[in-house]
């Protein structure tokens, strides 16, 4: 059970939470095969019956909420929220049980990640000027019965539209040009960094496992040996066990603060790219509508229809451009804040672990030098 005590306030500081709507996960209870999140809301909005209330939600219900946003046409102009539970955040029932039975610390680390992910998702929604007003979201927060949603299995396929976009479409807007170039490169780099950080952390965990085995062997030697080395081996075994704990925690923290950060922004940058794709598509539609209108006017046939269509496309394109611009600016702000927070915390944790006195040199060497 994880309670309010250790969960950091404002998990993702890039999302400004204001008094009108504050959402957090105040409690998380891991049962045999599922996790129950307590979603706690504080709000002065008139939409809610009370100013403060909590409900219990499971993972499937988060997915339901997420999917409802994705399917909503109205929200096409926003960077799509990241899908929850793809890979590292959630686990299968078997993995969960196994984790619990084995190393509690590792389990705790993974559990932390899961809860953090879900909370980030909610805070994103709560901070978003439009999404926070979504009815489904309010239902999710307030309705204290099961939402009885069935798990959905959606596959989102997105084409690499840039290659197909006719470059003649004069995209004179420098902002979007820059964003396009920037995002392409940034996304690739973040992808690489994410993969490399994963590998680095994996090696770290492997080393910790070896140290674990070494500590055990030393312990056995300590109980078996007939010489002065008995006590010595036992003491050294203790020290190795301490080292192992440190290494394991370093790896876990690097995972949480660095690897997860990079993964998150890998997906965010992909989502931003997708937004640009959608804008480009809208642009193409608009240009095609223009051409169709010209044709219609020339033939003086179905002009009204063509005009309506063109106006619709224009409107859609302008709307998407406007929201996209804001989204991309916000993306930068959020990104910078998130990196700052996580890098600072990473450094602080690394320092904390490095400073653990696993060998107080003078006192320990006298113990070790037993004659």
């Amino acid at each position: 059970r994880l309670t309010n005590g250790w969960l950091p306030r404002a998990v993702n500081v890039d999302l400004q939470t204001d008094a009108t709507l504050q959402v957090d996960i105040s409690d998380a209870l891991s049962e045999r095969d599922k996790v129950k999140f307590t979603v706690h809301t504080k709000s002065t909005l008139p939409n809610f019956k009370q100013n403060e209330f909590s409900v219990v939600r499971q993972h499937e219900e988060f997915i339901w909420l997420h999917d409802s946003f994705v399917e909503n046409e109205e929200y096409a102009g926003y960077i799509k929220l990241q899908k929850l539970g793809e890979g590292e955040g959630s686990m299968t029932k078997e993995e969960f049980t196994k984790m619990k039975q084995e190393l509690e610390a590792e389990y705790l680390a993974i559990f932390k990640k899961t809860v953090a992910m879900h909370e980030v998702f909610l805070c994103r929604v709560a901070a978003h000027p439009v999404l926070r007003k979504d009815l489904n979201f309010h239902v999710f927060l307030e309705y204290n019965q099961d939402l009885s949603v069935r798990g959905k299995n959606k596959k989102e396929k997105l084409e690499d539209f840039f290659k197909n976009v006719v470059k003649s479409a004069t995209d004179v807007d420098d902002f979007f040009e820059h964003e396009k170039t920037f995002l392409l490169e940034y996304h690739n780099r973040v992808k690489d960094a994410s993969a490399k950080s994963d590998r680095m952390i994996r090696s770290h965990k492997n080393a910790a496992d070896d140290i674990n085995r070494i500590a055990s062997s030393l312990y056995t030697l300590g109980t078996q040996d007939s010489t002065d080395l008995c006590k010595f081996f036992l003491k050294v075994s203790e020290l190795f066990e301490k080292t192992r704990k440190i290494e394991a925690r370093v790896a876990a923290d690097e995972d949480l603060k660095l690897a997860d950060l990079l993964k998150y922004y890998l997906r965010e940058s992909q989502a931003a790219k997708d937004l640009l794709y959608r804008r480009s598509r809208a642009l193409v539609d608009y240009e095609n509508a223009n051409k169709a209108l010209d044709k219609a006017r020339a033939k003086n046939r179905d002009v009204l229809q063509a005009e309506t269509s063109q106006q619709l496309c224009c409107h859609k394109f302008e709307k998407i451009s406007e929201s996209a611009k804001q989204e991309l600016v916000d993306f930068k702000t959020r990104r910078v804040a998130a990196f700052r927070k996580n890098l600072v915390e990473l450094a602080e944790l690394e320092l904390k672990h490095a400073k653990v006195p696993f060998q107080r040199h003078s006192s320990d060497t006298t113990i070790l030098n037993i004659e």
């Binding site: 960094a193 090696s203 080393a207 070896d210 600072v344 450094a347």
Partner: protein
């Protein structure tokens, strides 16, 4: 006694002297005779004398092709620590004198000699000592790998079968395996350094045995500017080694003697070394795994550092971009830290364990030799018994000529039985002393080296603190 030289030997002065122990008259005339313990007279021609080499084939030269440039061994952070750690001084405690002497041997300057197929690595062996056995206080010679193996071969053939725990020297097979498995090539700095370090430890362990220190072969190895090429007369192929092991096992099976008091000590010790062997091998394997993973961690950290730098480059927020570059720098420094720690893991801890796994094999061999000595004595005794019975029969049947022959044979056998008993008692006595010495050394070795290793861990931690301390303000500066 000398075998035919392999064709690929370089054209150097090859003397085809026998490689038996030299009768060093200089030593015999020494009035002081500092080492009072009697040297067992070794009969070189004894056919039962077996040779235990640690592993590997003959000391014949295997052609190697390291690069032509003089290789400087890779010097890790704790170069001095690794090999000189527990060997800072060898104090030979004189049993009856109380004087102590010191000796320090270093193996350095690996250098490729010759070209192509005939090329080999030569090492400089420097001895610094105040022991009067030696002609001077500081001197150097050049030796090649086969010289080391040759020395070990000679010492093993002289001393193992009488109960001395002769330190093994990792043979060619060991190094070949390393090359195959470890993806290292013989020319890599790391491989050269590993071998250099191993040879140095081998020599230091060897001179720690008083009986070996004064051995003429050892003295010659350390002092002589020219060394006769090691030939493979006593080389043991792996087949030969297997034969020897099987024979020892047979001897043990035939042993039906009831264990008396003194034997209980041997039984107990044998069991102790069996257990120790199992545990040390396990520990060694785990340690080797750690070395591997730590090296992987170093490589992966370096790769991540580069990746983070690239990310920083493409980041268009200036402060964040700078912070990411700083992160990349920190990670780069940390990857070097991991590399250094991996070296400490290896040279301090892992090699210590590897050495002791090999040493314990030698210990077990010595116990086996005792068994065989006992067996030989028993066999001779049984033979004597048979001869006596035969003599009685001859006497009964009144065959005077054969009788005399029988009596002569019996006389000879009685002598052999006495000798067999003496040899058995001697080897038992030697082993007791040797095991006691060995255990003392083991305790000292492990304590000294492991403490040094733990210090390396502390050092690494302290470096980490420095690096992250420097980075933290950079991260906070992002706005």
């Amino acid at each position: 006694q000398s075998a035919s030289e392999p064709a690929s030997l370089p054209a150097e002065d090859i003397s085809t002297n026998s490689n038996g122990p030299k009768q060093d008259s200089l030593f015999d005339d020494d009035p002081e005779d500092l080492f009072a313990e009697a040297t067992e007279e070794v009969s070189l021609d004894s056919p039962e004398r077996d040779v235990l080499l640690s592993d590997g084939p003959s000391p014949a030269i295997t052609p190697i092709t390291p690069p032509t440039s003089v290789l400087t061994p890779r010097i890790g952070l704790h170069d001095d620590m690794f090999t000189h750690s527990s060997f800072d001084e060898v104090k030979i405690e004189e049993e009856e004198g109380g004087d102590s002497f010191d000796i320090h041997i270093s193996v350095s300057d690996p250098e490729k000699v010759g070209d192509g197929m005939n090329a080999y690595m030569a090492y400089k062996v420097t001895t610094k000592t105040s022991i009067s056995l030696f002609k001077s206080h500081e001197f150097s010679v050049k030796r090649r790998f086969s010289d080391f193996l040759g020395l070990h071969s000679k010492l093993a053939s002289k001393y193992l079968h009488i109960g001395y725990i002769v330190p093994p020297c990792a043979g060619k097979k060991h190094w070949m395996t390393k090359v195959k498995v470890g993806k290292e090539d013989q020319s890599s700095n790391e491989f050269v350094e590993k071998r250099r370090s191993a040879l140095e430890r081998y020599l230091m362990r060897t001179v720690k045995l008083p009986v070996l220190l004064k051995d003429p072969d050892v003295l010659q190895f350390l002092e002589s500017s020219e060394l006769p090429r090691a030939v493979s007369t006593q080389a043991l192929s792996s087949a030969g080694l297997l034969r020897m092991v099987n024979k020892a096992a047979e001897a043990v099976n035939k042993m039906t003697i009831k264990m008396n008091e003194s034997d209980a000590w041997f039984e107990e010790k044998q069991q102790h070394f069996e257990n120790l062997d199992v545990q040390l091998r396990k520990l060694h394997a785990s340690m080797e795994s750690l070395v591997l993973h730590r090296k992987e961690l170093s490589v992966n950290t370096a790769q991540f550092a580069k990746s983070a730098a690239m990310l920083g480059n493409s980041e268009d927020h200036t402060a964040l971009s700078r912070a990411l570059s700083q992160l990349a720098e920190v990670e780069e420094k940390i990857d070097q830290l991991h590399q250094d720690q991996a070296n400490a893991d290896f040279y301090l801890f892992s090699e210590l364990l590897g050495d002791y796994v090999r040493l314990i094999t030698a210990v077990k061999g010595v116990f086996d030799h005792r068994m065989k000595t006992w067996q030989k004595w028993q066999d001779t005794q049984m033979l004597l018994q048979k001869k006596r019975e035969a003599e009685a029969k001859l006497q009964f049947n009144n065959k005077p000529d054969k009788l005399q022959q029988a009596k002569d044979e019996i006389k000879e056998l009685e002598g052999k039985v006495e000798q067999g008993e003496r040899e058995f008692e001697q080897i038992s006595k030697t082993i007791r002393k040797e095991v006691s010495r060995f255990e003392k050394e083991r305790v000292k070795d492990f304590k000294t080296i492991i403490i040094k290793y733990l210090e390396s861990l502390v050092q690494t931690q302290q470096q980490l603190i420095k690096y992250w301390d420097a980075f933290l303000p950079e991260a906070k500066a992002i706005s």
